[in-house]
């Protein structure tokens, strides 16, 4: 396998106003690919979001509990409303996750830094979801923290 020598850029991304609305209206955030290792970005971001009052739903087929929350093997296993699907997985996993996000009625798909999948983003937007690509949800929340929870 050879490493690609380019990284995709988001061709269309949520506007700053949309990002603010996503964060201000969300209550539950499914964190896909959440690690149980405190030094990992996914753990730090999820812990931050939890401290800021969001309900975290961890998604990871290899774990049972993280940050005091039950871990689900996939988004389809979650039996409560999810507002944001926050993705910490490789770009090639995004299309399948978007399918699941649409299926469970999520309102937004959020891809963390460096994660971009324009075709999957189109599909999500077509189903009425908001899409943020290649942004850290913690960084954006901190930036907007005067106007969101």
């Amino acid at each position: 396998m050879t490493m690609s020598d380019t990284c995709d850029m988001p061709l269309q991304n949520a506007t700053p106003d949309e990002v603010q609305t996503i964060l201000a209206t969300a209550k539950t955030i499914a964190v896909v690919g959440l690690s149980d290792k405190p030094d990992r970005d996914s753990y730090r971001v999820a812990a931050y979001l939890q401290q800021r009052g969001y309900r975290i739903v961890p998604i990871n087929p290899n774990l049972s509990e993280v940050l005091g929350e039950k871990v689900y093997g996939s988004l389809r296993d979650v039996r409560e409303p999810v507002d944001i699907v926050d993705i910490f997985r490789k770009p090639q996993t995004v299309p399948g996750l978007v399918e699941e996000a649409i299926a469970i009625g999520a309102k937004a798909v959020w891809m963390q830094n460096g994660i971009v999948h324009n075709a999957a983003a189109d599909k999500a937007r077509g189903a009425g979801l908001k899409v943020v690509m290649s942004r850290c949800i913690m960084v954006e929340h901190r930036r907007l923290s005067s106007s969101v929870p």
Binding site: M3, S4, D5, T6, C7, M9, N13, G114, S134
Partner: protein, 116 residues
């Protein structure tokens, strides 16, 4: 010594923003090679030391600059950047060459030499 050289070359890469781009690039007297990059992009990180070497070799003849696309989405949009690293070579305020993906030092120096 190696570190000192590296730090010296680092100074040769101009950091651009949406605020200073037009003044530094479009109104520049010499050719400007602009690297559109992001800190999360692996190939972009590999491109950076190559650009430092290019900047060192072309010092006084051309400007080497970089734009963090996360901080400057409007610039990325203006130039239709869809993947990074993308390098644009400007001469007289216009794009003379475009390179998409990781580029070798020799290719970039040759392009700058040809644009002088």
């Amino acid at each position: 010594m190696k570190l000192k050289l590296s730090q010296q070359n680092m100074k040769d890469i101009v950091e651009l923003s949406e605020r200073n781009f037009d003044a530094q690039v479009l109104n520049a007297a010499s050719p400007v090679l602009v690297d559109f990059w992001a800190p999360w992009c692996g190939p972009c990180k590999m491109q950076l030391p190559i650009l430092e070497a290019v900047a060192g070799r072309m010092s006084g003849q051309a400007v080497v600059a970089k734009v963090n696309v996360d901080d400057a989405p409007n610039l990325a949009g203006r130039y239709g950047i869809t993947s990074i690293p993308t390098l644009l070579l400007f001469k007289g305020g216009k794009v003379a060459r475009q390179f998409v993906g990781l580029q070798m030092e020799s290719a970039l120096v040759a392009a700058l030499e040809a644009t002088k």
